[in-house]
């Protein structure tokens, strides 16, 4: 998929990748149709899962790739969005028109609250303080005895949408997730291209210079942090509906690490890379775990090799290959 679209204009790697998003979304749109022939909903639910994590990964790329804000607590926002769905359903509120705004608001509010503190620090300290807030959310969820505590909370049924049980059909749910991913992608793409996005990117290169020009870097970074948090909350809303289950494990620091791995595996700072990385990570997981339950013994060294030899992730690797082809 990537290679075919890359070959179109090999001389300009960034330009050559311009058709990549179209290819990605076309492939996602076709999966349920392919699944019609293979039968079963396995492929469809796997696709939903990939896209749900792709939403969170795109949001994280906004922070890491464009803002150089390495958040090691991103999974907390997914968990908050998921718990919003779960806790509301305990109280009999099961309509997405309520639970979705609540999920977004809760994760945005937590991002605002913690971002105010986190963004005072930078570099390694930022990584660690975001981790700390992620852990706080994790332990809070673990101690919510009325809502399952450590064991998690089973949700009776998926949310309705304005009263219609739309999300309960696997295929319909798939396309709702696809729509959300597309919306997230288009929104983030517009954001990074806007004046706002240029300030954030400028602050990544040189925060002092941006401040000297007259921008309050802190406020721009805080806004980015809140947006990324809310988008992860969207991902959490969808995840809770997909699995009909929420658990503190959604917020574990290992999950935050996995999200960073996804973004880096695909390639930082391109948004496309985050989607490809999420797909690559989850599909590799699915594929390798089919052979052996110890698939991480294989996957761990693969990650090390990616870092050592494939700088720029899969997108960077693909561009380098295309460039080599163009020359030879």
């Amino acid at each position: 998929m990537a290679a075919a679209s890359l070959a179109a204009s090999p001389a300009r790697p960034r330009g050559g990748l311009r058709v990549l998003p179209a290819g990605i979304f076309l492939a996602f749109a076709l999966i349920p149709i392919v699944a019609l022939f293979t039968g079963g909903t396995y492929l469809v639910s796997l696709g939903s899962r990939v896209m749900i994590f792709a939403i969170a990964a795109v949001a994280l790329d906004l922070l890491v790739g464009y803002g150089a804000l390495i958040s090691f607590g991103h999974a907390a926002f997914i968990g908050l969005g998921a718990y919003a769905v779960g806790i509301l359903s305990v109280y009999g509120i099961t309509d997405a028109l309520v639970s979705l705004p609540v999920a977004l608001a809760v994760s945005a509010a937590y991002a605002l609250l913690t971002g105010v503190i986190c963004l005072r620090t930078s570099g390694v300290y930022f990584i660690m303080i975001t981790l700390a807030f992620g852990q706080m959310a994790f332990f809070t969820a673990s101690s919510l005895a009325p809502f399952g505590g450590d064991d998690g909370l089973t949700i009776a049924a998926r949310n309705t949408l304005a009263g219609f049980p739309l999300l309960r059909d696997e295929r319909a749910f798939y396309y709702v997730v696809l729509f959300c991913l597309l919306g997230t992608y288009v929104f983030c793409r517009a954001l990074v291209g806007s004046r706002f996005g240029r300030v954030v990117r400028g602050a990544k290169e040189n925060p002092v210079r941006m401040a000297t020009i007259g921008f309050d870097v802190y406020r721009f970074q805080l806004a980015t942090y809140v947006i990324a948090g809310a988008l992860a909350g969207l991902s959490g809303f969808l995840l809770a509906n997909a699995t009909e289950f929420v658990s503190p494990a959604y917020m574990s620091w290992q999950r935050s690490g996995e999200l960073i791995v996804m973004v880096l595996l695909g390639g930082l700072g391109s948004l496309d890379g985050a989607i490809i990385g999420a797909a690559a990570y989850l599909l590799t997981e699915e594929w390798l775990s089919g052979f052996t339950e110890h698939w991480k013994v294989i996957f761990g060294p693969v990650l090390v090799l990616v870092v050592l030899f494939a700088r720029g992730g899969l997108i960077g690797l693909a561009s380098a290959l295309v460039r080599r082809f163009a020359r030879g």
Binding site: I117, A132, F139, G257, W295, G300, L303, V304
Partner: protein
Amino acid sequence: MSTTLLVVQILNGLQLGVLLFLVAAGLTLVFGVMDFINLAHGAQYMLGAYLAVAFYALTGGFLSALILALAAALAFGLVLEFAVFRHLYDRDHLDHVIATFGIILFLNHGVKLVWGAAPLSLPMPELFSGSVRLAEGLVYPVWRLVIIAAGLAIAALLYVLVAHTRIGMLVRAGATNAAMVSALGVNIGRLFMIVFGFGAMLAGFAGIMIAPILSVEPGMGDNILILAFVVIVIGGIGSIRGAFLAALLIGLVDTLGRSFSVDILRFVMGPSPARTVGPAIASMLIYLLMAVVLYVRPTGLFPAKGR
């Protein structure tokens, strides 16, 4: 809240504190001197425990298992440094995080493959297996006291090494400005290797010492890693003194918080909500402490870098 219970919990807190210090010391040195984030440090702690169990099965003696496991932990650390880490020192932090995350996955599941997923245990040395009466009605396991003593001894040794030897001087200089040390003609690559190997050995030592108390299982390093990071961030990256004080602080706050949070909360709320809220607050306490410290001092309590 009797005095005996308080003393026992303070001792437990100290024991956790010195254990954290053993792990955090290597982490903060590697971090401070090489500017390298080693998430796999916790996995090296786990590996130390597993190696000790394996060598105990071979030799049947705790001391021989300890020595062999330490040597193996050192060797493994050096191999990791040689094969992977030294190629990453000049990369950015994100690459460190991903590569060492990969190593965690490998080691956590590698030990599962070799030794199985079931928890293992390392028998205590006969000599230290009992309990000792410290005061009237105050009985405390000897092994925990041994851990505290060993941790304090290592802390003293580290102090002498870092403050009064040439290699320690280079380490301190490296933590302040590694490029300058290199420019002065010091073989910085060898210094890095020594620091890394030493750190790996300390983490392994911590894993071996705790193995007789905790069960040895895959992933046992993950939680201690996060705690160690909290310690070095609070203490200030690159500072051994900061790591020591922060480790004791975290050990005490975490242990005492867990033991007394419910009792303290009962003063302000009913017993039933206190039982629910207490454990949650207790497990959050150290992260709360870290957030507050970073809010007030964004580079920790004792920053080593002279900025």
